[in-house]
Subunit: 226 residues, 2 copies
DNA sequence: CGGCATCCGTGACGATACTG
DNA sequence: CAGTATCGTCACGGATGCCG
C-alpha cells in the first residue's frame, strides 16, 4: 500500500521519494510554474496581481496554490505592506534566492532556443536579466547596471552578489553605476555567448553610458575573464 | 480564441509561450520526470528497462512518452545495439549533456534537504555523483575517480570535462586514477559543502586509494580552490 | 481592487494488464 | 525486453463569484 496519506490536511504534494539531492530539489521547485515564479521574485517583492500579469497563462488558483507551497517550503514569505498601501507582497527568502544559480544555468542552456520569437510569445524586459547576468559574470567591479531594451528597462547587480541583495530588479535603477543600451538581437547574442559586450560596444551595436570604473570595464577597458 | 491547436498530429506539448530563455528551457525539460531521466542518462547510455528500475515510481507509459519527447527535442537518441544484444539504448546528445550545469546547480541547492532519509526513499549510488562533482569542482588534475559507497559504486571525471565525455558513470571505473571510499554521512557533508575532502581524509572519515597526482590532490596535497 | 475559492472540462499522471 | 492499452484519479487552465 504505497503513498499512504495520513489524514493531515495540508496534503503534502507528490514527492519523487528518492534520496537524491536533485530529486529533493525538484520536490520543491519541480512543479509547473514554480521556477518561473521564482524568476519573477528574484527581481524583488511583488504583489499577487503583478505576478499574475507577468506570468501570462497561469491560472489564479494555481498561482495561489504555488505561492502557498513556496511559503510552506520556506522559499518565499508573504509580507503585509504598511497601512498606506492596503496590500501584501510576496518575497523570496534567502533559501529561495539560493535558486539564482539554478535559474542562470537554465537560462544559459535555454538561450539558444530563443532564435525565433513566436507570435504567441509574451515578453518582459527583466526576463533578459538572467542571460545577461551570465554574460557579465566575470566582471571584477561591483555595482548596479541599468539596462535599457526596446522592451523596457531593468537593472542588475554585477560582481559578487551579497547574500541579502537582489541580483536584478524591475525598472530603472535608483543610482546606476553604468547604463547599458542594447537592441534585442545583441541581448540575445550576449545571452548565447556568441559575442562579448566589449565586442558589441566596439561594433556600435551596444552603448555604455557612465564614466565610473564599472562603465569602463563594461566597455572593455579591462577584459572580463574567459 | 487562445491556444488554437492546428490539426498537426504530434500535438505539441504545452508551452509557456514566453520569450524567455528560462521558460524555453522549461518547455523542454520542465515536465515531471524529465530532469531525472537526464540525471540517469548523464551516467551513460541505458536501456528502457534499466531506466524503469532506477526511476522508481515512474509509470511505463510516462517513461516511454518522455523518451519520445526527449528524442524529438534533440536531447537524446535511441541507438540500436549490435546484433549480439537484441536491445536498444537511450543516450544523451551533446545538447542533452549540456544540462549538466543545471543538474549540478539543482543538486547543490537540494543537498541541504538530504538531512533525513525517509523510509520510502529509494537510493542509488550514482545519485551522489552530482553533489560530489560540485564538491570536487576546483581540482586541477584531470582523471577518473572511482567512488565506493555503502550503497554501491560509481565513477566520475574530474577536472575540465571534455565535450564528448560523460561526467560520471555507473559502477566501478575501468582504470581509475584514484579511488574514494566514503561513508554516506561524509558524502552528504561534502555535497552540502560542510567540509572539504581534505578535511574528511584528515579526520579518517574518508579514504583515498592510489598514488597518482590526482590521488595526491584529493588527499589535500594541493588545496582545491575555495 | 486585491486575493483568492469554486466549478468545470481537458489532459497529464500512476498503476496494472497485456502484447509483439 | 520494450513498450502499448486501458482506466481511475488528480492537476491544470479558464471563467466566474465572493469577500475584505
Amino acid at each position: 500500500m504505497p503513498r499512504q496519506q495520513q489524514p493531515a490536511r495540508p496534503a503534502r504534494r507528490r514527492s519523487y521519494d528518492q534520496f537524491c539531492a536533485t530529486a529533493r530539489a525538484l520536490d520543491s521547485v519541480g512543479d509547473r510554474w514554480t521556477l518561473l515564479i521564482v524568476r519573477e521574485l528574484l527581481a524583488g517583492p511583488r504583489r499577487y496581481t503583478d505576478l499574475l500579469a507577468d506570468l501570462p497563462g497561469v491560472s489564479t488558483d494555481v498561482l495561489a496554490s504555488r505561492l502557498k507551497d513556496m511559503e510552506q517550503g520556506g522559499l518565499a514569505v508573504r509580507r503585509r505592506l504598511p497601512p498606506p498601501a492596503a496590500a501584501s507582497v510576496y518575497e523570496l527568502t534567502e533559501h529561495g534566492r539560493g535558486l539564482l544559480p539554478v535559474l542562470t544555468a537554465l537560462a544559459g542552456w535555454g538561450a539558444p532556443a530563443l532564435d525565433e520569437r513566436r507570435p504567441t510569445d509574451a515578453v518582459r524586459a527583466h526576463w533578459f536579466a538572467l542571460p545577461l547576468l551570465r554574460a557579465l559574470d566575470g566582471l571584477t567591479h561591483a555595482g548596479v547596471v541599468e539596462v535599457r531594451l526596446a522592451e523596457g528597462e531593468f537593472h542588475m547587480r554585477t560582481g559578487v552578489v551579497a547574500a541579502g541583495a537582489e541580483a536584478y530588479g524591475y525598472g530603472p535603477a535608483d543610482r546606476p553605476d553604468a547604463c547599458l543600451v542594447l537592441g534585442t538581437d545583441v541581448a540575445l547574442a550576449l545571452g548565447r555567448g556568441e559575442c562579448t559586450l566589449a565586442e558589441a560596444v566596439g561594433d556600435g551595436r551596444a552603448e555604455v553610458l557612465g564614466e565610473g570604473p564599472l562603465a569602463v570595464e563594461l566597455r572593455g577597458g579591462q577584459q572580463p575573464r574567459h
